[in-house]
């Protein structure tokens, strides 16, 4: 790992684990008589999802969704599509979409638009880092780990060219 690229720590391991525990407590309370399905958006959410899941006391299921871009010959140069769909049905289920970071919200508006017609009982978002200032569209974000500014950060699932996801903390990236 190129440590020179790892900049100043933004959130350390302890801060993160404390915050994850708090979110888990909120979810335990909000969904106490329910069995939500946590949908992790690959790949950034895997660390957040696994820590959060282990802190939950309620019964819950886990599934994953992946979004990718592909070239088109007509119209816009690239289009977004689901590259790995859910294995489980979400019909009549309480859904919590787990994500590492939300900036403009365009990707997540696409995800919400895709999931809603599958008729879940409820649909909310749980995001580790919420860049509210960059938001362009409203999203049903119910749980948020930390508010984040526009710095480029790595660690705890966030990558630079697929690296640094495994850092147990969040740090600035030295470009």
């Amino acid at each position: 790992m190129n440590n020179q690229k790892i900049g100043e720590k933004v959130f350390d391991k302890e801060e993160i684990q404390n915050r994850v525990l708090k979110i888990a407590e909120e979810i335990n309370e909000d969904y106490k008589d329910k069995e939500p399905l946590l949908i992790g958006i690959l790949k950034g959410s895997i660390y957040f999802l696994s820590d959060l899941s282990r802190q939950l006391k309620i019964d819950h299921n886990i599934d994953f969704l992946s979004i990718g871009r592909f070239q088109t010959t007509e119209g816009p140069r690239e289009k977004v599509k689901i590259t790995k769909d859910l294995d489980l049905s979400i019909r009549n289920k309480d859904i919590i979409v787990i994500e590492d970071i939300i900036r403009t919200g365009l990707t997540h508006s696409y995800i919400v638009k895709n999931l809603k017609p599958r008729r879940p009982k409820s649909l909310s978002l749980c995001v580790f880092l919420d860049c509210k200032e960059q938001r362009l569209v409203d999203l049903p974000i119910k749980y948020s780990g930390f508010e984040m500014d526009d710095r480029f950060v790595i660690g705890y699932g966030l990558d630079y060219e697929e690296k640094y996801r495994n850092l147990p903390y969040v740090a600035e990236f030295n470009a």
Partner: protein
Amino acid sequence: MFVITISRQTASLGDEIAAKLADELGVKLITRDFVIDNWLSEIADEHDLHMLRETSKYYLRTAQNGQTYKEYIIERLKKEAEEQSLVVLGLGSQVIFKDYAHAVHIKVICSDKGRIARIKEKYNLNKEQAIRTLDLSDRKHRRYVHRLFDKDWENISLYHMSINTDGLDVKEATNLIMHLLEMKKENPQPLYKEHKEEEKRVSPRQDIDFVHESERDFAEILDMYNIQWEYEPSEFPLEWDAEGNIVLGFRPDFYLPEFDTYIELTTMKQKYVTEKNKKVKLLQELYPDVSVNIVYKKDYHKLLQRFGVNDVKEVEGDDDE
């Protein structure tokens, strides 16, 4: 919610495919028998029900409730489709739901040879009797759709997909349709409006006289995410003179109807940005219910980099933006 309509030639396995689909997807199957037994029986007496089973002409008659049977079926089908996903077999449903963005229309066919063999086996008929049965039955299907909806049942442009069951069994055909359904869920649009919508999405961007190239790039990002947008659709009056004439207005660059949100790009020089900020502030004071998001130059360039628009790719992380 979605609707799968199945139109089928007699003995083409269309009935079996519809039943299997409904079973696999866990959704309601609506057939002609279901409609007659459960819906039409509410507005028709025994004689009417008998005639409805016999002749398509009878569907154009006015029922006890003042509607024709055809109108009643259409109304009930559409109401049902609002409440739950459906597989609909026949009934002219490919026409009824032709403008329905979440509908998939399937035609199931088979060679005469294959159908005759199935009819012979099913009803223990000889070849001539089987041919006659098929001929009568196909004619009834064709007449029903033509009489009630003025459409040629065999016109393949009424369907997303035609399946020939000569070389496919029920399971394979069902899987094909389910696969198509998954694809259409990602990009729901009505069969009939497909070309028009394509034109709407592609050509206006080329035709629109964007003030700045940055706006064209932003439109490209919105298209990438299949987000509907309108370019400068409204101008908000901000200041009036003593006589009430508008002296200052503001026209945000984009409107996103799905989010009821306006977007303003501020990618120009700082002195113009200050002026624009003033306008946005005024707008928010005068129209507190209007949601406007401003994208500043610095954020805008980061956005372009992240989305790879204009081949600017400096910082690459996940696809999350």
